[in-house]
């Protein structure tokens, strides 16, 4: 079993003093694996990613990256340390070209290095290369998601956080994106993913963490959960906790 690279210990976080989402959450992600976060809406999956990436300050608890405490570090510093984040939804700058969108992903790199890195990413995404001079708002949804992922890879992150990459994409495109993430993980990048398209995502993941009301309810190898006849109940009624106990 590979060692933990990301650890949450009793983390409490929320969007306002009166709204707590993460409730003493404890979980971890292991090096070179795809860890899948699943659970009903409002369980705190996206909040885990946002808190980890410094977009939300944890009120209590500790977040560690390679054993070092990273609570409250801003995204800029975390990027420099090797964590990148692809948030949910559309995150491109529509009026700028595809190339310029890519470039902005490397804004923290020395300018001299930027060009080489862009070429490296373009090799991985030939579709993006074809659209390089188009306005970002004019490319298709699948291309946009690929561009977003490519933009995050520009920094050669050791950990990639990705939130609901499949939203709005056709099943075929989802498979493509998942395959790509699997390749990345096999090359050594740790992937922490939130995904609603659970069955598909499980097939590509190593491990699944089920969150419920801001807490870890279940931690199993992905293949095991995929076989579990209770998977349905997890989402359509019946508490995860009961199925974990049973």
């Amino acid at each position: 079993m590979s060692p933990s690279i990301i650890e949450f210990e009793n983390v409490v976080a929320g969007y306002s003093p009166s709204l707590t989402i993460l409730n003493e959450t404890t979980l971890d992600a292991r090096r070179g694996e795809i860890t899948l976060l699943i659970g009903p809406n409002g369980a705190g999956k996206s909040t885990v990613l946002k808190t980890l990436f410094g977009l939300l300050l944890p009120r209590l608890g500790e977040i560690r990256f390679e054993g070092q405490r990273i609570n409250g570090k801003p995204p800029r510093e975390l990027l420099a340390e090797g964590i990148a984040f692809v948030p949910q939804g559309r995150n491109l700058f529509g009026s700028l070209s595809v190339r310029h969108n890519l470039e902005l992903g490397g804004i923290t790199l020395p300018r001299a290095e930027l060009r080489g890195r862009i070429d490296e990413v373009l090799q991985r995404f030939p579709r993006i290369n074809e659209r390089i001079d188009n306005q970002a708002s004019t490319i298709s949804g699948g291309e946009q998601k690929q561009l977003e992922i490519g933009r995050a890879l520009l920094l050669r992150p050791r950990v990639l956080l990705i939130d609901e990459p499949s939203i709005g994409l056709s099943p075929k495109l989802v498979e493509q994106i998942m395959t790509m993430l699997r390749t990345l993980a096999d090359e050594g990048t740790t992937v922490l993913m939130v995904e609603q398209n659970v069955r598909t995502a499980l097939r590509y993941s190593n491990r699944a963490l089920v969150l419920e009301m801001g807490r870890l309810a279940l931690d199993r190898p992905a293949s095991e959960i995929l076989q579990d006849p209770d998977l349905n109940r997890l989402f359509l009624g019946g508490h995860a906790r009961t199925s974990a106990a049973g």
């Binding site: 306002s16 009166s18 709204l19 989402i21 009903p40 809406n41 409002g42 609901e164 499949s166 939203i167 709005g168 099943p171 989802v174 609603q196 398209n197 659970v198 069955r199 598909t200 995502a201 009301m213 998977l231 349905n232 989402f235 359509l236 009624g237 019946g238 508490h239």
Partner: protein, 250 residues
């Protein structure tokens, strides 16, 4: 007894944003006193459907009938006058008013006319009713604090209590359990059942908490990508293959 006419009749509602079909031909009907649940993965168009029914946005096509009257495209104001109430997905209380004033504000506009309200007592004659509701929702200890100063869960309760203040015939609840702790969720279930029994109103509930929906509703509609994928009794929808696939991928 002949089949009673339905209270709400939604016929083939569509809401398109350019090429994106947020709601794509949804029909549903709600009988008097019935509690209908609407489920579906994120982005399946549930809230857009609500907003189209409630006049918050204008549907591209289709129509909505309430008590046999065509109410398509009516403003929220006109709808509330006809007895259609709602709660919102995000918190929507009057932050600077006290809890009690929030409840009175939710119902006072249905009493008398605007000029007559100018000469009405300050509580518009609703003080007693508001206090009853405060008792029911166990908000007595905070009744005189500004609503904005309370916790998320408490504000959510106020939000729901407000919708029921004018005793509407139909209430549409948009994710009443979101951000509410598990103990409160159980209480909420009891409250809604209680209100359904005492006020006799019908509800349509959007909710992701499946236990809640399955316990509360007699009829469940599952939406996926703007369409109704399945509907029927909760147990049936729960075990429907397509529904499972929609939630879990295939």
């Amino acid at each position: 007894m002949t089949a009673s006419p339905s209270l709400l009749e939604v016929k083939d509602i569509r809401k398109h944003y350019g090429a994106i079909k947020a709601v794509d031909g949804v029909s549903l009907s709600v009988d008097p006193g019935e509690i209908v649940g609407v489920i579906g993965p994120n982005g399946s168009g549930k809230t857009t459907l609500f907003n189209s029914i409630l006049g918050q946005i204008k549907p591209t096509s289709g129509n909505v009938e309430f008590c046999g009257e065509d109410i398509t495209g009516m403003s929220p104001l006109q709808l509330s006058r006809r007895g259609v109430g709602r709660t919102f997905q995000t918190l929507q209380v009057f932050v600077k008013l006290s809890v009690r004033d929030n409840l009175i504000a939710a119902a006072q506009e249905f009493k008398g006319t605007m000029p007559s309200r100018l000469f009405a007592p300050p509580d518009a004659g609703l003080g007693y009713h508001a206090d009853e509701m405060i008792e029911l929702f166990r908000l007595k200890h905070v009744a005189h604090l500004p609503a904005g100063s309370l916790s998320y869960g408490q504000q959510k309760l106020i939000d729901i209590a407000m919708a029921f203040m004018p005793a509407p015939q139909l209430v549409l609840l948009d994710e009443p359990c979101a951000g509410v702790n598990p103990i409160l969720v159980d209480e909420l279930h009891d409250l809604l059942v209680n209100l359904n029994r005492t006020q006799g109103g019908s509800f349509v509930v959007i909710e992701h908490n499946m236990d809640f929906i399955m316990k509360l509703c007699a009829h469940v509609v599952c939406m996926v990508e703007g369409k109704v994928l399945a509907e029927g009794p909760p147990a049936e929808v729960q075990s429907n293959r397509q529904v499972l696939e929609a939630y879990l991928g295939n």
